[in-house]
Amino acid sequence: MTALTVLYDPTCGLCRRAHGWLAQEGKLVELVFVPCKSEEARRRFPQLDHDLTAKDLTVVGDQGEVYLGPKAWLMVLWALSQYREWSYRLASPELLPTARRVVSLISQHRFQIGRVAGMSR
């Protein structure tokens, strides 16, 4: 795998902040950022359920592998040279349930978190 397409939500401040952070990190795998439900996203992945991608972070590999929510976050970590070790650690059976809970909690409340942290547009 040489590239991952990240379908992110451009309407949420937290997501845009995360996007900015990811853009400047060193990468082992190229990350392509495409706003979810955009023309570009629909053109690239015509068969994908695009309403689903707006609910949770979605990452698509260059062979069409689809990763949703917590798995998508792990794949993003895996792409970063500084955090690949953490992606394996968090994907272990002991930590994966916790990682899932934390990610879905953040994802559900992403607009509130963004507002509290002053990241809303």
Binding site: M1, L28, R43, R44, F45, P46, Q47, L48, V60, G61, D62, Q63, G64, E65, V66, Y67, L68, K71, L74, M75, L77, W78, S81, R84, E85, S87, Y88, L90, A91
Partner: protein, 140 residues
């Protein structure tokens, strides 16, 4: 009042042994690290022997600098040695400190090497999780 004859003799007895011992110890540990660390570094740098040798050499230089610096600073005893027993004890304390510093640095080196090695081995690692599904990708 001038000191007695035997007093001076005792005091000077152990002094040359102090730096000599430590230099020998430092050189021995340094050479051990240099010899046995090489294989490790070659692996870390994916078989790039030139780079491994260069890093190995730089590490050993830093190691010598820190140790000789420490020995120079720790050489001062602060009191006069009047008996053979005191001399041996003083020597033992100083050598012990140097050994602990060397041991600490040795394990720190090992830690750094193993971290570098692990990170290098991760570069070709597979994805951490299985995909949730597959979709068709439209080429750009």
């Amino acid at each position: 009042m001038p000191p007695k004859e035997g007093y001076d003799e005792h005091r000077n007895h152990n002094l040359p042994a102090l730096p000599g011992d430590k230099i020998a110890l430092t050189v021995w540990v340094g050479r051990t690290l240099f010899k046995n660390g090489r294989v490790f570094l070659v692996d870390v740098f994916h078989g790039n022997e030139l780079l491994a040798d260069s890093v190995n050499h730089l590490l050993v230089v830093g190691f010598y600098l820190i140790n000789f610096g420490y020995v120079s600073l720790a050489l001062k005893l602060g009191y006069d040695v009047v008996s053979a027993r005191e001399g041996i004890e003083a020597l033992s304390v100083k050598v012990g400190m140097v050994l602990l510093v060397l041991g600490g640095m040795h394990f720190f080196n090992l830690l750094v090497f193993s971290r570098m090695r692990r990170r290098a081995s991760l570069v070709n690692g597979p994805p951490p999780v299985k995909p949730d599904g597959y979709t068709r990708v439209q080429e750009a």
